[in-house]
């Protein structure tokens, strides 16, 4: 029994959403053995989180469950609330996707950790509790834990919060004796850590640190890990076995190395193919679009509370790319439709569209409060060129993008669009210039007006700014939507009826509606699943090849940037640390920060990733 910590047999979970039954998980079976890391992978709506929640009985009230979940020999579904609490307190811990939200904002982390310690060891004195809390924080590598006990969650970074959450999850595990001896030295009891997307909200270098903490817990405390993730790089880094889920069902269970080398299920193959990899672009035929098998429907969203997406008439998994003999629908086509893939070095004859010189953007007032989000950055983007701007959160990359559109206060330096300084122009000239810039934001769910239909969203700029009449604008909107792979049926739909990828297509169509010379894309695919991301990137690529706009592509994902961009600029703490052709920056990074960034991104290949980790341990 100790060999199998967790057994899931034929698990089915359905949700009652306003009288309708929505199936979240159907017939899932797998096991987690002692000292084993099992990764459950799948895209959003695949049921992986629902599976993880059912292990500790944490499903919402509207869920009903059948099948067997046996944890540490106890059947979770048959326990009464008191027994369930007892099980949760035992050798199981869980950590979550959003570490900042997972902590109570109004209590200090010292208090929150001590209450968990007290829960497990009610008879410790306050001094002992405090010592144990400090010990736990040291275990998860928080610097100077003594001085941070009084701090509140909002005073910690996301990565630090995740460390605290991990510390809380394992608080009951290694019971120190009176002499402080570690339980890990005696025979370790089987323990299970359930990690639900533990690094998704974190930067790539922080992700590497958290993964090393998880690895340490697994090795030192002898724990098994049930890892829920969508990131194949994380899977390759940590997992022993992999469970691939789709639409609430298990598609494939395989050893990690075997899964990456010889995936069995078609879905696994498509999923792996959709994962962007650094360096993949250097192989021949880089523009081969990745299309999931068109016979398979789009993954239905089946999480509690969500509305099933309407089945689209044109299959959105298929890209509608107009053939060259169709009438040319968009003005100012700089290059034919079958334009060659952009090369790394553009001829220098192309005019510069965006010229940023010594840009400083600072926020706040007063001597101490002033902080420079962008501290003296110079960068240029030429016509027809895609420049990737990479960096972690807080690096100033988004601010730089905003400053390029005139949405951030420029306190020093200049931003020139086609040689004109936005700041020096009159209001009307500035507006006219802004019309020549398109912007796509990260979260299409919030950047589209929920009260505007798809048609209205795309027609608005055409009529108001482009001066077209209603019928001309409508015709043009249809052409634009078709160019991003959405047919005429989509005109009357509203954002909430669309999936994330479809929304982002609409946002792109709107952004290019006025035929911009410059497109600023701020993390346009970060909120999307990998297969959807691959489709949206294809749309993006083909549009750019046809329209020839200059593009500043802001992203934290090096692999996406690698697959799309001509040049790459790396930002760190408001400064540009490295700029150059994609292959050089990502292939042979010169700056130490760029090198760290490239090394932190886990390679979606278990053999390579493990070899790399052994040669250069992170941190």
């Amino acid at each position: 029994m100790t060999d199998r910590l967790l057994q899931i047999e034929d698990l089915c979970v359905s949700f009652d959403v306003e009288g309708e039954t929505v199936v979240g998980v159907r017939g899932v079976s797998f096991e987690v053995a002692a000292h084993e890391v099992v990764a459950v992978v799948g895209e959003s709506g695949s049921g992986k989180t629902v599976t993880a929640m059912s292990v500790l009985g944490l499903l919402p009230h509207n869920a009903s469950l059948s099948g067997v979940v046996r944890l540490l020999g106890q059947e979770v579904g048959r326990l009464d609330p008191a027994q369930l609490r007892q099980l949760r307190r035992s050798r199981v811990g869980m950590i979550f996707q959003d570490p900042v939200a997972a902590l109570n904002p109004v209590f200090s982390i010292g208090f929150q950790l001590s209450q968990v310690v007290r829960l497990h060891q009610p008879d410790l004195s306050s001094a002992q509790v405090r010592r144990r809390v400090v010990e736990l924080l040291e275990l998860v590598e928080i610097d100077q834990p003594e001085s941070r006990l009084k701090n509140y969650p909002h005073e910690f970074s996301g990565g630090q919060c995740q460390r605290v959450v991990i510390a809380m999850a394992i608080a009951g595990w290694s019971q120190p004796g009176a002499d402080g001896s570690d339980a890990a030295e005696s025979t370790p009891q089987p323990r299970l850590l359930i990690a639900d997307e533990p690094t998704t909200a974190l930067d790539v270098t922080v992700q590497a640190e958290i993964l090393s903490v998880l690895r340490r817990i697994k090795d030192q405390l002898g724990a098994s890990v049930l890892l829920i993730t969508h990131n194949m790089g994380v899977v390759a880094d940590l997992a022993d076995r992999v469970v691939v889920m789709r639409s609430g069902q298990v598609v494939e269970v395989n050893q990690c190395a075997e899964l990456f080398a010889h995936p069995q299920a078609d879905y696994t193959k498509a999923l792996l193919a959709a994962v962007p990899k650094i360096g993949a672009n250097d192989r021949p035929a880089p523009d081969q679009p990745v299309i999931l098998s068109p016979t398979q429907p789009v993954i239905p969203r089946a999480v509690a509370g969500s509305i099933p997406a309407p089945s689209p008439t044109p299959d959105p998994t298929q890209l509608v790319i107009p053939s060259p003999d169709q009438p040319v629908i968009l003005r100012a086509v700089a290059g034919s439709i079958d334009a060659p893939a952009p090369t790394a070095v553009l001829p220098p004859t192309q005019p510069t569209v965006l010229e940023v010189s010594d840009l400083v953007v600072s926020y706040g007032r007063g001597r101490r409060g002033r902080s420079e989000a962008v501290a003296g950055v110079s960068l240029s983007v030429r016509a027809g060129e895609i420049v990737g701007l990479v960096g972690e959160s807080g690096s100033g990359k988004t601010t730089l993008g905003r400053a390029a559109v005139g949405l951030a206060p420029v306190s020093g330096g200049r931003v020139l669009i086609e040689g004109q300084d936005l700041a020096g122009l009159s209001r009307s000239r500035r507006q006219a210039l802004r019309r020549r810039i398109g912007v796509v934001f990260q979260n299409p769910a919030t950047s589209l007006n929920p009260r505007y239909s798809v048609g209205a969203t795309v027609i608005e700029p055409l009529r108001v700014l482009g001066g077209l009449d209603q019928s001309a604008a409508r015709t043009r909107a249809l052409e634009l939507l078709e160019a991003v792979g959405l047919g005429p049926d989509w005109l009357e739909r509203y954002p909430h009826e669309l999936s994330g990828g479809q929304r982002q297509r609409v946002a792109i169509a709107r952004a290019v509606a006025l035929d911009p010379v410059l497109l600023i894309a701020d993390e346009p695919t970060s909120a999307l699943d990998v297969s959807v991301q691959a489709q949206v990137l294809d749309v993006f690529r083909s549009l750019q090849a046809r329209l020839g706009f200059a593009c500043l592509f802001i992203s934290h994902d090096l692999a996406v940037v690698d697959s799309l961009c001509d040049r790459v600029a790396v930002m760190h703490q408001g400064r540009l640390v490295e700029v150059g052709p994609r292959r050089e920056v990502l292939g042979r990074p010169q700056d130490p920060y760029t090198r760290r960034l490239v090394e932190s991104a886990p390679i979606p290949d278990p053999v390579l990733q493990r070899a790399r980790r052994q040669t250069a341990p992170p941190g």
């Binding site: 997972a102 109570n104 904002p105 109004v106 829960l119």
Partner: protein, 310 residues
């Protein structure tokens, strides 16, 4: 250090608001149609010399800014001025305010106890018949105008059942205050219970609740400590603001129940063109309001560490 600077800034802001608002009130009261001297005299004809003597006594012929300055100077010496009938405004206020304060505190406690209580019950039983019933009741209660509610409750509890006095303060606290305080409290109580329910429901679904539940804490601690503490933030902010509003007295309720409070005094003074009294009351109310706004900030910072800084 930083905190002291922040509070200094805050108080400086309050001073500016105080000056601005008192001036506007001063202006408004003296722009009222009608002559205070004539109103004071009633039907008796006054000789020209008496009128000019009175006008000189109350500085009515000075330019407005001069009158306002005099008033401010008096204020800083603790003098709220004198009414035209010759009584110090401060004394009038001292006579009337206790009634209003008792009424306000009674209503406030009712809002806290029942508002928070009903909110918690509705949140814990969300989706149930109790929840829907409470929603209907609170919406209905906040839709009925206070004077309707006041008169109806007088009729029912005072006249027909005879449990409570219909009007006046002769029976003292609590008997005389229960009806008017309840009527006042109904509106705030509905708002508090809705706020509390909303915040509780939101927090019950929050990620950190899932975290503590995953650790195996009991529901009592989860709801009683984690959820309550977070949910109290919006409701307590509303309650503190509402205290300022309640202390200002209610013209309508004090009128209906014939309570000799500030609201009543204000109403009488406006009718009698007693400019100094109106300005005096308004000034006092502004001070109460400004103080409660400081209280709200302090309370918010106390409850929510994310608001604290420095």
């Amino acid at each position: 250090m930083a905190a002291a600077a922040r509070w200094g800034k805050r108080l400086g802001g309050l001073a500016i608001v105080f000056l601005g608002v008192t001036f506007i009130i001063y202006l408004a009261v003296f722009a009222l149609p009608g002559d205070p001297i004539r109103a004071f005299a009633g039907d008796r004809p006054l000789s020209e010399s008496v009128v000019s003597a009175l006008r000189a006594k109350y500085h009515l012929d000075d330019p407005l800014w001069r009158q306002y300055l005099d008033y401010l100077l008096g204020l800083f010496q603790g003098d709220l001025g004198q009414s035209f009938s010759g009584r110090p405004v401060a004394e009038q206020l001292a006579n009337r305010w206790p009634v209003t304060v008792v009424l306000a505190l009674t209503a406030w406690v009712l809002e806290i106890v029942f508002g928070l209580g009903l909110g918690v019950v509705a949140a814990l039983k969300r989706g149930s018949l109790i929840d829907h019933g409470l929603l209907a009741l609170t919406v209905l209660a906040s839709c009925v105008p206070v004077f309707v509610l006041g008169v109806l409750s007088q009729q029912f509890f005072g006249v027909e059942l005879g449990w409570l006095p219909v009007a006046g303060v002769r029976d003292g606290w609590p008997l005389s205050y229960i009806l008017p305080a309840s009527v006042i409290a109904v509106f705030g109580l509905s708002a508090v219970s809705r706020l509390m329910r909303g915040a509780m429901v939101e927090n019950l679904e929050a990620d950190y609740v899932r975290t503590v539940r995953a650790h195996g804490f009991g529901e009592g601690r989860i709801v009683g400590l984690h959820v309550m503490r977070n949910s109290l933030i919006p409701a307590s902010t509303y309650l503190a603001t509402d205290l300022g509003y309640l202390l200002g007295g209610s013209v309508i309720i004090e009128g209906i129940f014939n309570l000799p409070g500030v609201g009543n005094l204000l109403f009488d003074s406006i009718r009698a063109h007693e400019g100094p009294t109106v300005v005096g009351i308004a000034t006092a109310l502004i001070v109460v309001f400004l103080l409660t706004s400081v209280l709200v900030d302090a309370l918010h910072a106390l409850l929510d560490p994310r608001v604290r800084r420095g």
